[in-house]
């Protein structure tokens, strides 16, 4: 049976067909749908873990326990999971262990553009790279096999365009994989110096075997065409190269670490001009240059951003596309915005009004950095809002915390804000942390987390009580408030920022896009009462539009959340009486 599947859905299918029984992840674009799709197979236990490190550790445990286990994350998630990764490389596996990592060239939804292959090489873990949905499924099954044959975790590297492109996939049956016996083996699984020294030897032996394997693996294939041009490429770059060059010769690498040096040399010897086409870092290219091959690659192609067939044609073949019109001179940008009805809008409105320094974090609320709210001062990585606020105080003294808050979503707080907050408690910080609790992991497309009371399948689950958690680690001032109660919220923020002690404010209001969130009737501006003071414009609501001579509410955009009447001093914003 053939099906149109996202790369991520095809990965999930591969995990299913490989007979895996445990999958765990923290959501992160562009990897999220892998685990969401796995959760639809009842044969596989699946879960949202609090963060990628925990997820990988759970997968390692499942592997040691004899199951085929999978975990998925975005590129920056691998940084969080790097600690277990580097040592799981030493322990090896029992059941197959595959780590799916989705890079984001072009940063569609990320804070940096790092290349997973470099971390994998550091950890000495083999990397497999599919270039379309069918390969996502097939390579996943091969990854589990390689993991067991070579006693190693395997990374399957994806990129946004592979993960989020649908392609045709031929479905197969699920392998009847039997749980391997669990045998106590401290020499393999207890990584203290004496044992780890021996395991490092095994790792190096394994790498040698994998280099051998790469030479003959079907993951790497040559497609002979015109031999004037030879292209070594992998992943999505292969698709772009095929389209740019047409019928030339290709060495398409499905295994990008370790590389098949002899195969590369053989291929290089038969073509006149050799191009290396890979997004981000010159990973394959550097190795080829080290081997003494004459290649063209990053000397002409960028290390920044996404590739395309057009870019390859332009940079390598000197072909540019003709401009067919001149009507696009003044197209205003359309950056993403907080949705109409978004709870974060109220929070940032207050923070901006109070002119606070705001250390921010990763989530929808990162958009609080954009005009007109423009509240956020810093965004580094998951959980950093808390540590950065603490560091600001330690650098600039207690006075700094009188005008600083950290803002962090509830899911991000669970992910890696808790330890930062413990640092604040332990090291006597008087800062203020606002946990934006919108009852869901929103930005990645509404995943449950340990605070929502539901698991990945939507079944009721134990719920972390944020108030009790903060109190338990020693935060004495914990306040809970709905940010839409603007006055009360503003008052609480003022008090807590002024306090000489550490405080946590839990700004609690569900995401406007959650199904159970029901707003009232939509709003309209009574032009007779409106003085055009434009206070409402400061909310940055996509439904409130400045028409120049007047301000109006766009009835198709308005959610009816009732926030804007609260900032209008002239009671000019009224119920419109039903949605059109």
């Amino acid at each position: 049976m053939k099906k149109l599947m996202l790369g991520n859905e095809a990965i999930a299918r591969g995990v299913y067909e490989a007979g895996a029984t445990v999958a765990t992840a923290y959501p992160g674009t562009p990897s999220t749908e892998i685990t969401e799709s796995i959760a639809k197979y009842d044969e596989i236990y699946s879960e949202w873990a609090p963060n990628e490190k925990v997820a990988l550790e759970v997968a390692i445990g499942a592997s040691i326990g004899g199951a085929r286990a999978a975990t998925a994350m975005k590129h920056v998630g691998l940084n969080v999971a790097a600690d277990p990764l580097f040592t799981a490389s030493y322990t090896g596996v029992n059941g197959g262990l595959v780590i799916f990592v989705a890079d984001d060239p072009g940063m569609h939804s990320s804070q940096n553009e790092q290349d997973t292959r470099i971390i994998a090489r550091g950890a000495k873990v083999p990397v497999i790279e599919p270039s379309n949905s069918q390969e996502c499924k097939d390579f996943t099954k091969e990854a589990f096999r390689i993991s067991e044959e070579f006693d190693t975790p395997v990374i399957v590297r994806l990129s946004t365009r592979v993960s989020h492109s649908q392609g045709i996939v031929e479905l197969g049956d699920r392998e009847n994989y039997e749980l391997k016996p669990y045998v106590k083996n401290p020499a393999k699984y207890v990584m203290m110096p004496a044992m780890a020294r021996r395991r490092h030897v095994s790792v190096e032996e394994r790498m040698a075997k994998l280099r051998d394997f790469a030479e003959h693996s079907l993951l790497n294939r040559i497609e002979w065409g015109d031999k004037k041009i030879g292209v070594i490429t992998s992943g999505i770059a292969y698709q772009y190269a095929r389209e740019a060059f047409g019928d030339v010769s290709y060495l398409k690498l499905g295994m990008v670490y370790p590389l098949p040096e002899n195969l590369i040399k053989e291929f290089a010897s038969q073509v006149e001009t050799l191009y290396i086409i890979e997004e981000l870092e010159p990973f394959i290219e550097n190795q080829c240059r080290k081997m003494g091959l004459k290649v063209t690659g990053k000397d002409k192609l960028p290390v920044i951003g996404e590739y395309s067939a057009g870019l390859i044609k332009e940079k390598l073949l000197g072909e540019t596309s003709e401009k067919l019109n001149d009507i696009q001179d003044e197209v205003p940008v359309r950056p993403p915005v907080l949705c109409a009805g978004c709870p974060h809008r109220a929070t940032f409105y207050v923070l901006k009004k109070l002119k606070l320094t705001v250390t921010g974090d990763i989530g929808c609320y990162t958009l609080g950095a954009l005009a007109p709210l423009e509240s956020v001062d810093t965004t580094i990585c998951m959980g950093a809002s808390v540590g950065v606020a603490h560091g600001l105080e330690k650098a600039r003294g207690k006075e700094q915390s009188k005008n600083t808050v950290a803002v962090i979503g509830e899911s991000t707080f669970i992910h890696s804000g808790i330890t930062g907050l413990i640092d604040m408690v332990y090291n006597n910080c008087s800062g203020t942390v606002i946990i934006l609790d919108n009852s869901i992991t929103a930005m990645t497309g509404h995943q449950h987390n340990p605070t929502t009371g539901y698991n990945i399948k939507g079944e009721p689950a134990k719920k972390v009580d944020l108030v009790k958690l903060c109190q338990a680690i020693g935060v004495e001032r914990v306040k809970v408030c709905d940010p839409f109660n603007l006055k009360e919220f503003e008052q609480i923020v003022k008090e807590e920022v002024a306090a000489d002690e550490l405080s946590v404010i839990i700004a609690q209001r569900p995401c406007a896009l959650l199904k159970h969130v029901k707003f009232g009737t939509i709003l309209t501006i009574n032009q007779d009462k409106c003085t055009k003071c434009r206070m409402c414009m400061r909310l940055g609501c996509p439904a409130i539009v400045d028409r120049g001579d007047h301000v109006e509410i766009n009835s198709t955009q308005c959610a009816g959340c009732d926030l804007c009447p609260k900032v209008c001093r002239f009671n000019a914003i009224e119920k419109a009486g039903g949605r059109e």
């Binding site: 492109s165 045709i168 067939a309 067919l324 019109n325 696009q328 359309r334 993403p336 915005v337 059109e580």
Partner: protein, 193 residues
């Protein structure tokens, strides 16, 4: 290369993803190769969004580039203008005559360009303008804009009408099926303007 390239552009939240999934399903049932490239994550939050659909004997790159699109399905006027250079000179350009102001326009830092439709028509000859929001409202749900647009495109496509309807039945949630089938029908029956 004789692949058909279709670009679907709009504003995050308008349902371009669902439209591309219906289109992908139609292409799959035709027995051709197909790739659909979507954007998820941050830009979905009210940002400019684009989906690429490519259908043909063999599709390599999932991306459509400048001057390559055979059809552009535009859910919003400004987005039509933003992506118009992806159209071939003789591309079918189907535009929902709806205006959604981006934040720089809302805050007064930029102007919403005037006479977008006229400008596009002056440069491209196959332009179809659809009051999709009005039609969707008439059908009972403003969110059905995407399926109205699919309906318009269906009439100009190489695929039979019932293949489209089957794809909609497969893709749309049961509780919204009736309104969406109505929206499709209305779109399908739009006269070209």
């Amino acid at each position: 290369m004789n692949n058909t390239s279709i670009l679907i552009v709009g504003v995050g939240g308008q349902g371009t993803l669902l439209a591309s999934r219906i289109l992908g399903d139609v292409a799959l049932s035709s027995g051709l190769d197909v790739k659909v490239s979507e954007v998820h994550g941050m830009s979905q939050r009210g940002g400019s969004v684009v989906t690429y659909v490519k259908v043909g004997e063999k599709v390599y790159s999932p991306i459509i580039e400048k001057n390559e699109a055979d059809i552009i399905l535009c859910f919003e006027k400004l987005e039509a203008l933003r992506w118009i250079d992806y159209a071939k000179k003789d591309a079918k350009i189907i535009i929902n005559d709806q205006r959604i102001d981006p934040m720089p326009v809302i805050t007064g830092k930029a102007k919403y360009p005037e006479n977008i439709i006229e400008k596009i028509k002056a440069n491209y000859k196959n332009v179809i303008v659809v009051p999709a929001l009005e039609i969707a409202k008439k059908c009972g749900n403003i969110k059905a804009v995407n399926v109205v647009m699919i309906g318009v495109m269906a009439r100009h496509s190489m695929f039979e009408k019932d293949i489209w309807i089957k794809a909609i039945e497969k893709t749309v949630k049961p509780q919204f099926l009736e309104v969406n089938l109505k929206a499709f029908e209305e779109g399908y029956n739009q006269s070209d303007t």
